[in-house]
């Protein structure tokens, strides 16, 4: 469940093999609370809940989208469509070291025409992933509107992209690496910040 960063495909250099620190910045309880709050905000800000279409961006987005959908069922009694959209083929990164990033699954169960599409990402930063996701989305049809959920917004935006629903703002250095992952032991998720481990995505 790494953030969608080309940096994660880069082999670790000896100097970065031992991270300065890897702190948990969001534990499972905080993540679940944030996803519930975001579900409430979605209900408040949107009138036609039946048009909602949650689209998770791999790897971290899809489980978050599914949890938000479950929360919406609980608090508003609506069944929302959930899709998965890989952005790799739409990214603007050039080949790094001749290695192409591995593709991930895309699964869009119904048309996006006239739907209110909510893109769900785990860690938002430069905005390039969201930009790629919007381009990909337009190839599936013409949504009525697109909004963005990010569990973590770590800043360093490079494109004019706004995150509509943020779980938590976390100030970072550009060289830090922020990652949503399964908790060691497998019960729940957590967001960790590793200093000096990567570039923002």
């Amino acid at each position: 469940m790494a953030s969608d960063s080309p940096a994660k495909n880069r082999p670790a250099t000896p100097s970065s093999a031992a991270p300065a620190s890897a702190g948990v910045v969001l534990d499972d309880v905080a993540i679940q609370r944030a996803l519930m709050r975001i579900a409430h905000e979605l209900v408040e800000r949107n009138e036609e809940l039946g048009r909602l279409y949650l689209v998770g961006i791999p790897n971290g987005g899809p489980p978050l989208a599914r949890q938000i959908a479950a929360n919406l069922r609980e608090i508003a009694g609506v069944d929302v469509t959930v899709g998965v959209l890989d952005t790799t083929l739409y990214r603007d990164d050039r080949l790094t070291g001749g290695i192409r990033p591995r593709l991930r699954r895309t699964e869009m169960p119904s048309a996006v025409d006239d739907r209110l599409v909510i893109l769900v990402d785990d860690v938002a930063s430069t905005g390039r992933t969201i930009r790629a996701a919007m381009d990909a989305l337009m190839d599936f049809g013409r949504p009525r509107a697109v909004q963005v959920v990010a569990l973590v917004d770590r800043g360093h935006r490079e494109l004019p992209i706004k995150i509509d629903y943020v779980g938590k703002n976390i100030p970072t250095q550009r060289t830090d690496h922020v990652q949503l992952r399964e908790r060691p032991g497998g019960d729940g998720m957590e967001v960790v910040l590793m200093q000096g481990r990567g570039a923002p995505s």
Partner: protein
Amino acid sequence: MMGRGLLGIEDLEREDIELILDTAFHMKEVGRREVKKVPTLRGRTIINLFFEPSTRTRTSFEIAGKRLSADVVNFTPSASSLTKRESILDTAKTLDAMDPDAVVVRHNVAGVPKQIADQLAAPVINAGDGAHEHPTQALLDLMTVVEEKGRIDGLTVTIIGDIAHSRVARSDIYGFKKMGAEVRVVGPPTMMPAQVECLGVKFFRSLREALDGADVVMALRIQLERLAGALFPSVREYSATFGLDRAKLRYAKDDAIVMHPGPVNRGVELSHDLANRRPSVILDQVRNGVALRMAVLYLLAGQRRGVEEER
């Protein structure tokens, strides 16, 4: 790891094949979209350099490149430079000077794609060279089997026909062996390469024995125009002995699938009925061919020697 270019299955590791197949399954999803095109290779140029005519393979590569937004140029030397006695390498170098991001080569002499690859900055993809290899065909065959059977490990694959003159057979043998299948070959002894067992396959004289317990049956195309009369007495005799129909297919497993690289000589390698309907999966092979070639182009195009490769 897979180097620059794709010259043969023999050079690949199992992990390379797995990466290509995994990528190809994702590419197949792109082909099911309303807009069957992604911007990945925008601004990249792919040259189809076909010294031997092949409308099917060339079209498949062309569609694959276009679905990735590359500019695809078809270059058929017979119609132009070769009439001016330009050598193959001169032709290739001339094209390379136009900075393509990949060159797809088909030639009727084994080894020509390798010779060309040694001279070019652009990665070269072998689209069939003589009786040597046809790697993308084998990869699309592997993809089709994974789709049908969910795996390749432990399957029994029977290849029927002219093994000696078939680049498809050679690439398929390497591919299925590397992925853990048992490979059997059967056909007239005149169509078997000397010491065929060196390829790691089991040779059968009897079709019935070769089919016993097979999960996948692959019939190869008989080059009627080239071979009839030379290697077997008559087309009718070949078809009676090695031609596949539903009656003979009963010797294989109940859920066996039938494959053919196309185009089928109907009534020779396969009965009409079998060529048209399941358990034959011939059109799935064609469909998967586009996705598979998209995967290969995605993984390789753009790795020009001395450009991106340098750090």
